[in-house]
């Protein structure tokens, strides 16, 4: 079955565009000017690009160094990992000197969106502490098993096909929790609930400045244009081509780009990448054309689709983990479930555009993670396949895809 936009979005598009649901066609705006998205993400003013997302590229690259360090048994310590997460300008926390010189870091943007966390800093603190705990447990619970076989309650290696997985006594790969959790807490949260939010896009005199093309100081872009580009950067910021990133989709990072690529490669969802990319282009063109209503429609498409990526991958890993568990293939199962854990965690940062809330709130996410980890004293080792099926159904029920569609990549 081919991928269909959900009814809500289709209806919204129809309403706004009257007779045409094809994003790339001209759509009359309030002022009677046709807004047409360019073929690539290429926007210029006075012959120079107006697109900029350095900060996102920097953070993705910091994340990539953490990914490597989480399995660097010989060199990583709790301190070195936490220092990468909480990097301070000028400290030599990374191999890449440009990153060391940066005044940006990962932790300050973790669970830090305007819409979800501006008056919710207590939860921000809890979430950041979770990510620090994952790093610490990778060192304290996983690393001691470097040269031994894992068993229930014992850290060590498990075989996953020809790959080796290193798990904690509870069966978790804490590096996977960190990586997949970041997709929600950093990338999706910043994109969906911060930079695509009217609270940020329309902040202060952004609309007036954008209407009059008043540029940010010393820049070639308006502030509103830049905020939109920063959302774009969390998905495509590490692509070799900023204007045509779909050419290398899936290969450009270990985070959202990678998993949009994975979902796109499932024929059940083919087209989702183009849909998201088109929405970014048209929304950006709408800002240039000063059509904020059209911009909002595109933001909603991105919010729904990126939320779906997270949910689809959560269900995918729960199902893959269940099938491997049924074969008592623990290495494969626990690897999938560790990734699934991170994607379930990330559900808290998704955005349902009808409610403006996440599809699953913190309490609901915590309940699902408890189901995953608390069937017995040894975490994943005590799971039964039925628990995983139930969790997959619970997640899919809130979205417009089925467990079966997400369960495999064909």
């Amino acid at each position: 079955m081919k991928y269909l936009p959900n009814l809500f979005l289709a209806a919204t598009l129809l309403f706004v565009s009257c007779s045409d649901d094809d994003n790339t066609d001209p759509i009359p705006d309030n002022g009677g000017v046709d807004i047409e998205a360019p073929l690539t993400y290429n926007f210029e003013r006075n012959g120079e690009t107006t697109v900029s997302f350095d900060g996102q590229t920097t953070r993705i690259r910091m994340g990539e160094e953490v990914v490597g360090a989480l399995l660097d048994f010989d060199n990583s310590t709790s301190e070195s990992l936490l220092a990468k997460f909480n990097h301070q300008e000028g400290e030599s926390n990374f191999e890449n000197e440009t990153l060391n010189a940066s005044n940006k870091n990962l932790s300050s943007k973790t669970a830090a969106s305007r819409d979800y966390f501006v008056t919710n800093t207590a939860e921000t603190a809890v979430i950041r502490a979770d990510f620090e705990t994952y790093m610490e447990k990778q060192i304290s619970d996983v690393f001691p098993g470097e040269f031994q076989a894992a068993e229930p309650g014992v850290a060590g290696q498990l075989a996953d096909g020809s790959a080796t997985r290193w798990v904690a006594p509870d069966g978790l790969e804490y590096n996977q929790l960190w990586i997949k959790g970041m997709i929600g807490a950093l990338m999706a949260d910043q994109m969906l609930n911060n930079y695509l939010s009217p609270a940020v896009l329309d902040e202060a005199d952004n609309i007036e400045n954008n209407d009059n093309e008043v540029l940010a100081e010393g820049k070639n872009y308006t502030t509103m244009e830049h905020k939109w580009d920063e959302a774009y950067g969390y998905l495509f910021g590490n692509s070799p081509s900023a204007t045509n990133p779909l050419a290398t989709l899936g290969d450009d990072d270990s985070f959202l780009n990678k998993y949009l690529g994975r979902v796109e490669n499932d024929p059940d969802f083919a087209g989702i990448a183009q849909e998201i990319f088109d929405a970014f282009k048209l929304g950006r063109a709408a800002i240039v054309g000063k059509n904020y209503q059209l911009r909002e429609v595109q933001a909603a498409i991105i919010q729904e689709r990126v939320s779906e990526i997270i949910a689809i991958r959560a269900v995918y890993y729960l199902e893959q983990g269940r099938m491997a568990l049924e074969q008592e293939n623990f290495g494969t199962s626990f690897h999938d479930l560790s990734e699934g854990y991170g994607f379930i965690y990330s559900l808290r940062f998704t955005r349902n555009t009808v409610t403006g809330e996440p599809y699953f709130n913190r309490t609901e996410v915590d309940a699902m993670l408890s189901q995953l980890m608390e069937q017995g004293p040894n975490g994943l080792w005590d799971l039964t396949p039925g628990v995983l099926s139930d969790l997959a159904e619970t997640i899919a029920a809130k979205f417009s895809f089925t467990v079966a569609q997400a369960a495999d990549s064909n």
Binding site: F147, A159, A163, R165, N410
Partner: protein, 382 residues
């Protein structure tokens, strides 16, 4: 608008279904031999197929393989006790004999072999020479750990027998005179014992119990023996043969060709020979025969029974012709694939393409005809 899309989709599904279904069952499904389980019953004697696979092909393949691992261990022991050029030559001969025989069992990664991670432990390449050197130096290692698969098996022996020094003279000199040779020979012996022990375990388990349960599990479901071994066969063909032996060295999955990733890299003479051996083993298994023996019950006879036609020709004929084309393409390559990818990688890619064409015929057309679902997905690579 949505209705229209649904209509188009629905029409598409109908068209897709009607053109590629197996021909009508000549035997009306419920054929009376009682060996058919569940859906997809066709009257084909599934029990007889499994019996041929287990009794005439798989168990004999392990029985043929085991003595070669025994001979390898004997010659390694002799070499360890008396490291001469003559004894080294004997080890090398026995290594190649065993490596060749291994190509006839590698595809059967089910049951005991799967539980023991047999293929990964005997033939993961390229070997991790830094780890091997470390294991030799420290004498501390556990070959059962998943992380040590690239420090054991035939590729690790390949390194010790052909790659421990740059020239033939230096290798002999190393084993005759180098102070670290003693430890190296201890490790070499551990590797040979490991190969022999794993092989005897798999063979014995097949003989003592697994063959019986394998043959009894005639279900036409994802857990039935035919479905599982068919998936293992395709996984092997796609990942180990097509990709491992040809595609990865040719750079199909990377930016540049990877000559150091050929099978038996240090030997420098037999990567083609091993690939051809594996291809023959695969084609024979498709046709229901082993190295010697087998009554022809296999994928070919199953497809012929179902009268599976593609583009007006028997699918089994198309698949066999495609195996032959792949063999011709591989035959044209240098004996050493590392040389091949460095001198004329196009020819290597052409061989890959011929192998890939049969992935489509087998994984798509054959599985559809046999009503078998693929049970593996591409791994994440992370």
């Amino acid at each position: 608008m949505l209705k229209k899309i649904f209509f188009i989709l629905f029409t598409g599904l109908l068209l897709a279904c009607s053109s590629d279904d197996p021909a009508p069952d000549p035997d009306n499904g419920n054929g009376g031999n009682g060996n058919n389980g569940g859906e997809g019953t066709t009257g084909f004697d599934r029990a007889a197929l499994l019996a041929n696979w287990a009794d005439n092909i798989i168990v004999p393949a392990y029985q043929d393989f085991y003595p070669t691992t025994e001979a390898l261990e004997v010659s390694v022991t002799a070499f360890r006790e008396n490291p001469t050029a003559v004894n080294l030559e004997q080890v090398r001969t026995d290594w190649l004999n065993a490596y060749r025989a291994f190509q006839w069992v590698s595809m059967f990664e089910t049951g005991p072999a799967e539980d023991l991670r047999f293929r990964a432990r005997l033939n993961t390449y390229p070997a991790d020479t830094a780890t091997i050197d470390e294991f030799i130096a420290t004498g501390t290692y556990d070959l059962e750990l998943p992380s040590t698969i690239d420090a054991q098996g035939f590729p690790a022996l390949d390194y010790l027998l052909f790659g421990i020094a740059d020239t033939e003279e230096e290798i002999i000199d190393f084993y005759e005179n180098d102070p670290t040779a003693v430890n190296t020979l201890v490790y070499m012996q551990a590797l040979a014992v490991n190969i022999k022990t794993l092989t005897s375990l798999v063979r014995d388990l097949w003989q003592s119990s697994f063959a019986a349960s394998f043959k009894a599990n005639t279900d036409a479901s994802a857990t039935g023996s035919i479905d599982k071994l068919t998936n293992d066969f395709i996984f092997y063909y796609e990942k180990a043969l097509r990709a491992g032996k040809i595609g990865i060295p040719a750079g199909v999955f990377s930016t540049d060709p990877l000559p150091q990733n050929v099978e038996a890299f240090y030997n420098q003479e037999v990567s083609k020979e091993l690939a051809l051996e594996a291809l023959l083993a695969v084609q024979n298994f498709f046709n229901g025969t082993g190295a010697n023996g087998g009554n022809g019950r296999g994928f070919k006879s199953y497809l012929d029974f179902l009268n599976t036609i593609k583009n007006g020709e028997d699918l089994s004929t198309l698949i066999n012709e495609q195996f032959d084309l792949a063999r011709l393409a591989i035959n044209d390559l240098d004996d050493n694939f590392a040389t091949q990818v460095q001198t004329d990688n196009i020819a290597m890619l052409e061989a890959y393409d011929e192998l890939q064409r049969n992935v489509i015929l087998i994984k798509v057309d054959m599985l559809q005809a046999l009503s078998i679902d693929v049970d593996f997905v591409d791994t994440d690579g992370d």
